[in-house]
Symmetry: C2
Subunit: 373 residues, 2 copies
């Protein structure tokens, strides 16, 4: 069995690094941002659009796909790639986060997570073994272990420790459950907001033969300084040559902060969800395009942008689309925000190569301070 | 003042005719189908998409645009063309149909139609003069006269006659109200389901200097044989070398029936509205894509089609998009149906040139009989 993943670091700038990540279905340049395709689709956007925008890899939610249409249907249609038409790499989460946050009456035991299906109310059980089996059926290029997610904000130390230890035992069971040699599997560091727990989690995961590491349970309200310390501790305890993934974050400033610490992969619903609410990221801060002051504005949303929205439409027209509830509004905003994110990551990669990442980091952090939302 | 419209008939096959219609903002080949862009946008579809699909001309609804964002805002942004990004020809309706069908407490008098704005409840008045002024401000290439619309089905002869006579007086007022020499204005034949009334309407309109004729108040439940008779009578009474427009119709079989009678222009919400409900037109009849039997279907919606939906996606995946309520479902279905319509019109134009239109007419009529919806 050849390795399901190869990662090559091609440039460094401080702790930031640029690399090439080879998966079964394609190579991507890191640091990379993964748009969220919950149900196997980035809302309102086709694979054709994503190629045009410069997407490299998508993230799908195992829990949602397990519910609809089910992994068997997707496997039969050629896996995520054949079924959805996005032929590039896919990463799937394990379903654990959605099960505990979305399913009704979710109950966590050592065996796994028992829950009632939101669709038909039937009791189901997600175990480390079934999480791996479902992701293998989906045919993801990169799968994630099942972990027990708790919020960093509210959890006490004892609960954080217990969830982390259980997540470790589940990670071991996930590693043993693997059947496909061509699918990468990432471990997930847990431990809430306790630096020592995160360190122990990362060290223990390092011995289990995973293809990469992820930071779980972050971006849930913790201060950015604390988050940086938690990320740093895990990085110290993990093989440096493996890819690192900061799950579920975030805003542009979160991405550059993560990149500065050596994170390679990101995913977040922010660019697409904000877009659907009319919030556009631009080089000069963000625009709430529904705002009445854009009614007669003939300028493009972002004069420096060449996306389908900015190259053809004015702020006034885009606002009108949102006002009348036309689906083209959210769509154009989504195309714009995704392009903004991909461009940001492209700039980060170039800056790492040219040794100027600190300047980009400072610029994005400063823009964040002027942002409305 | 040069003519705002030039129409050249380039081929004939029976009563069917092929032509070139030159408007201020571009030439189109007829017979042509106009997608409905109610609020200045074909729902979920961009001008870029429309160019790709082969659209030639769009129809916008004066009433809706008058409400939002208002004709002044559109005029200030360069008219419909500059504002919306669709730089090809635009036709606008007069607003009369929407006012009487959508506005609350619409009251028709000789002066015009008084109504309460659905947005803010304020009383407004649409007159023949204001209908022309609004359409001139919008900058349409082709404008329509204000007419009094009544249904052909339910109206008695007296009411039909009165509405037709009033529509004639309004048409005269519209003709006198024109200020722009670069905007075409079409008259609208009324007269309900009375052949003699339609004839009188068309004859009277012919003397008023319009640039084209339209059939109003059809497709409201009347039998197709009756409709054919009403259309034929109006055509007989109208200058043959002017463009003819059958308003608001229809299904593929309605289009070919109209073309067979020498109609040049069509508009209808059917392809786009059906698409949003998951109804796809194909060469082998229509597909209700939400149907459970398409769940595991790996075939494209229409194997013979090269649209973005059929070239990249299966019926099973398209059904899934509708099941999970993703905006990409209605969007892909809309792209497909519009392409189907444009292809049908392209086939009709070629068939007229090659003298084989009767065969196409028969084929489409036969396909309609096998259609589900």
């Amino acid at each position: 069995m050849t390795a399901p993943l190869e990662f090559e670091i091609t440039a460094r700038d401080g702790a930031a690094r640029r690399g090439l990540l080879r998966t079964r279905c394609g190579v991507l340049e890191t640091p990379a941002f993964m748009p969220v395709a919950t149900y196997g689709v980035v809302r309102g956007v086709s694979p054709r659009d994503l190629i045009y925008l410069g997407a490299q890899i998508l993230l799908a939610n195992t829990f949602h796909l397990h519910e609809r249409p089910g992994e068997e249907a997707i496997a039969k249609a050629g896996g995520l790639h054949g079924w959805s038409g996005w032929r590039g790499p896919w990463l799937t989460d394990s379903g654990g986060y959605q099960v505990t946050s979305l399913a009704e009456r979710a109950r966590v035991s050592e065996e796994g997570v028992a829950f009632a299906s939101p669709l038909d109310g039937r009791r189901r059980l997600l175990t480390p073994e079934s999480a791996v089996a479902i992701q293998e059926a989906l045919g993801a290029d990169i799968a994630m272990v099942l972990d027990e997610c708790i919020s960093t904000g509210g959890a006490d130390a004892e609960r954080s420790a217990a969830a982390m230890e259980r997540s470790l035992r589940w990670a071991e069971r996930c590693a043993r459950a693997r059947r496909r040699g061509d699918q990468a599997l990432f471990g997930i560091v847990q431990g809430g907001s306790d630096v020592a727990l995160r360190q122990r989690s990362a060290r223990a995961l390092a011995g289990l033969g995973f293809d990469g590491i992820a930071h779980g349970g972050l971006g849930l309200g913790e201060e950015s300084e604390l988050r940086a310390a938690l990320v740093a501790e895990a990085h110290n305890a993990w093989p440096e040559q493996q890819p690192r993934y900061l799950m579920g974050l975030g805003r542009p400033e979160d991405l550059v902060a993560g990149i500065a610490q050596g994170v390679d992969l990101f995913d977040c619903v922010i660019p697409t969800r904000h877009a659907r609410h009319g919030m556009l990221f631009t080089s000069a801060g963000s625009l709430a395009i529904r705002n009445a002051r854009f009614a007669g504005d003939d300028d493009p949303p972002d004069p420096g942008c060449a996306c389908p929205a900015c190259s053809s439409h004015s702020r006034g027209y885009l606002r009108h689309l949102f006002q009348v509830g036309d689906a083209l509004g959210p769509r154009l905003a989504t195309l714009h925000n995704l392009r903004f994110y991909f461009q940001l990551l492209e700039r980060a990669r170039r800056a790492i190569t040219s040794g100027s990442f600190a300047a980009l980091h400072a610029e994005v952090a400063a823009a964040a301070r002027t942002r409305v939302a």
